[in-house]
């Protein structure tokens, strides 16, 4: 089976400017050489702590942020270099759900217009046709048809997230990047939205890139999980493998930090280094309890492990 989405050597760097002349004095290497494959119908979880580049990666795939280098091959086409007109045609198949259900909905637009905007932009000119499809998708996300005539502020956080999901789904996309879709929601509402995302995956044969910081949520939603640290994927494997047999020391530490579980706790010392000047060699070595001399010299590649996972660690092979 060929992948629906293949990311190769993707880099997204942000220039840091300083001084009166705004000269570029450095690069924040938010995403710094990422390879990923997502199969059709699969949910790939992307997990990591703040600043690891997971959201930037999600947005770079959709070119909401322009990547600096690398390929994003979607359905056989490299979208990283497409011109605006052809990119627009692809966006129909490639949609995003944002974390913040308040900030991502225009407060002055009716819900129906928010959801239907994409239809209009993609050439559905008939008002009746648009209304029909808006009503249909609102029903699919569990909102009443009357919601179309109301404003976002009239809805609770969970309902607003449903509006964001309806907007993403209305064009019947193939791939959805869900960027922390439940982390702004209360526990009782979070489960409603997770169940909805799972049901819609079935109903519309969707493929998800599910970005989140909560390992339990990612594990529950995903077939496979990729773990990011400081702009790089350090491990990717099935959800089960990541959960039961994590290979990278960072994955192990992350798992052991999930509160409320019985485990051998590994408390990492220190904090994530700056993406402006990542450590030489392995980026995790400054916090790694197992670091050796080689880790400072050679950057480990994301190599296949006998278990079927891929892991970027000198000591796991």
């Amino acid at each position: 089976m060929t992948a629906l989405l293949s990311v190769r050597g993707l880099k997204t760097h942000f220039p840091v400017r300083a001084g009166a002349l705004r000269r570029t004095v450095g690069q924040i290497r938010a995403v710094d050489g990422v390879d990923l494959d997502i199969m059709p119908g699969e949910t790939l979880g992307l997990v990591g702590e703040s600043g690891c580049g997971k959201s930037t990666l999600g947005r770079s795939i959709l070119r909401l942020i322009e990547p600096t280098a690398g390929q994003v091959i979607f359905d056989g086409i490299d979208v990283a270099t497409l011109d605006a007109r052809r990119m627009k045609a692809i966006r129909r198949d490639l949609q995003i759900i944002f974390q913040d259900p308040v900030g991502s909905l225009n407060p002055r637009m009716h819900v129906g217009d928010i959801v239907g905007e994409g239809l209009h932009a993609n050439g559905v000119r008939s008002r009746a046709e648009r209304d029909h499809r808006i009503k249909e998708i609102l029903a699919a996300v569990g909102l009443d048809a009357s919601a179309a005539g109301r404003f976002p502020h009239e809805f609770s956080g969970g309902q607003r997230q449903r509006i964001g999901i309806a907007r993403a789904l209305v064009l019947r996309p193939k791939l959805i990047v869900a960027d922390e879709p439940v982390s702004a929601l209360d526990v009782s509402v979070q489960s409603q939205v997770l169940n909805l995302l799972a049901a819609l995956r079935q109903q519309f044969s969707l493929t998800y890139l599910f970005v989140a910081h909560d390992l339990a949520v990612v594990d529950y939603m995903s077939d496979r999980v990729a773990v990011m640290y400081l702009g790089r994927v350090v491990e990717v494997g099935t959800a089960r493998q990541i959960r039961t047999n994590p290979l990278h020391p960072y994955t192990r530490a992350l798992l052991s930090a999930v509160p409320g579980r019985e485990r051998q706790r590994i408390v990492l010392s220190g904090e994530v280094p700056s993406p402006l000047t990542p450590p030489s060699g392995c980026r995790f070595r400054t916090r790694c309890p197992m670091a050796q001399e080689i880790c400072a010299r050679v950057e480990p590649a994301l190599d296949a492990h006998p278990s079927g996972a891929r892991v970027a660690c000198h000591l796991s092979h």
Binding site: D186, V187, N195, A198, D219, L255, A257
Partner: protein
């Protein structure tokens, strides 16, 4: 069981707004015992933070603690104290840390200065001695090379380090009770693990009681000796943490425990949904406040339920206490068990 440090009885904290009286805390009873950790858990709008602020004497107009409310701390009644009297207790025997350490630290002073200020506010020591004590405290909370860090401004520090500074300030006076309002919510999970471990460790060393406000049941399982579950301005269930988490008696607690995914849970198993939304504090429902969202609700629930004691548990529910609640599948029960160990 140790002596109670803090006893809250029938606490009502209301906010008078243009739209009406916002009954944020509406009849709360809580006990924090010496050397133990009580976690108050609830969703946004449940009144858990307003409860913490009431204890600290930090409720300001239009908020008001209603007559008849009692907050007894270390043998002294706090309700009705003047600001000055309250300030004498606060920061000495009673300390607090907040969710966002950046907004609690003064951005224009170095952190060392702020720790020294806190020490000298309650202890008659020289600046020099306070400075030495500040270095000791910073080392105690795990700030590397504290002598150098003294002159750093808050924005120089990461979120985890700022929270450590806040903890060092809160502990500078050896408080009997530390109130922690979502202290790790703004932090990443590996940093959260560091801070929780630090708090447990310091509690062991210094013996203070902790009242921790959180929305995260994982944090409760990790930290709590005792737990109180808040919903709509009231405590709906309280007791020994392990018992409440493994054998919840209130339908809301049960639903909350089933609503969060646990590592290793099967995808075929949908998460428990709590239908609807939290009612408005402007107009709480007359009967049981959870009834409209409760899967077990019946006619009786139209009246306010009494608080019943079941074993070492208190629960505010009409349902027969010996019913077997918990219809989750075997996997889920196993997962819930895992949470509690």
């Amino acid at each position: 069981m140790t002596e109670p440090v803090l006893e809250i009885r029938d606490l009502r904290t209301y906010f008078h707004t243009i739209r009406g009286v916002y009954r944020a805390v509406d009849g709360v009873d809580l006990t924090v015992r010496a050397g133990r950790t009580l976690c108050v858990v609830g969703e946004s709008g449940s009144g858990k933070s307003a409860t913490a602020l009431s204890v600290m004497g930090l409720i300001e107009a239009p908020g008001e603690i209603q007559p008849g409310s009692r907050i007894r701390f270390d043998g002294q009644e706090l309700v009705g104290l003047s600001d000055r009297e309250h300030r004498r207790i606060r920061g000495r025997d009673l300390s607090m840390i907040f969710q966002e350490p950046m907004t609690s630290l003064d951005p224009v002073y170095p952190v060392g200065h702020q720790i020294v200020e806190a020490i000298r506010a309650h202890q008659p020591v020289s600046r020099k001695a306070a400075l030495n004590r500040a270095v000791e405290l910073m080392a105690l909370v795990g700030i590397p090379s504290p002598e150098r860090r003294l002159w750093d401004y808050p924005h120089h520090l990461s979120g985890g380090m700022r929270q450590r500074v806040m903890i060092s300030i809160a502990l500078s006076s050896h408080p009997k009770l530390l109130v922690a309002d979502e202290p790790t919510t703004a932090l990443d999970v590996t940093i959260q693990a560091q801070i929780l471990e630090l708090m447990r460790d310091l509690q062991k060393k210094m013996g203070m009681a902790i009242m921790m406000i959180t929305h995260d049941l994982g944090v409760v399982a990790e930290m709590a000796d005792d737990v109180a579950v808040m919903y709509a301005g009231q405590i709906v269930e309280s007791g020994i943490a392990e018992e409440v988490l493994t054998n919840p008696r209130h339908p809301y607690t049960e639903a909350l425990l089933h609503a969060v995914p646990v590592l290793g849970m099967s995808r075929d198993e949908p998460l428990r949904v709590i239908p609807g939304v939290v009612p408005s504090p402007l107009e709480w429902p007359a009967g049981c406040r959870f009834a409209a969202r409760c899967r077990y609700a019946h006619e009786r629930c139209a009246e306010p339920p009494p608080t019943a004691t079941v074993g070492r548990h208190q629960t505010r529910c009409w349902l027969p206490v010996d019913r077997s609640i918990g219809t989750g599948s075997a996997t889920r029960t196993a997962a819930a068990g895992e949470v509690n160990r």
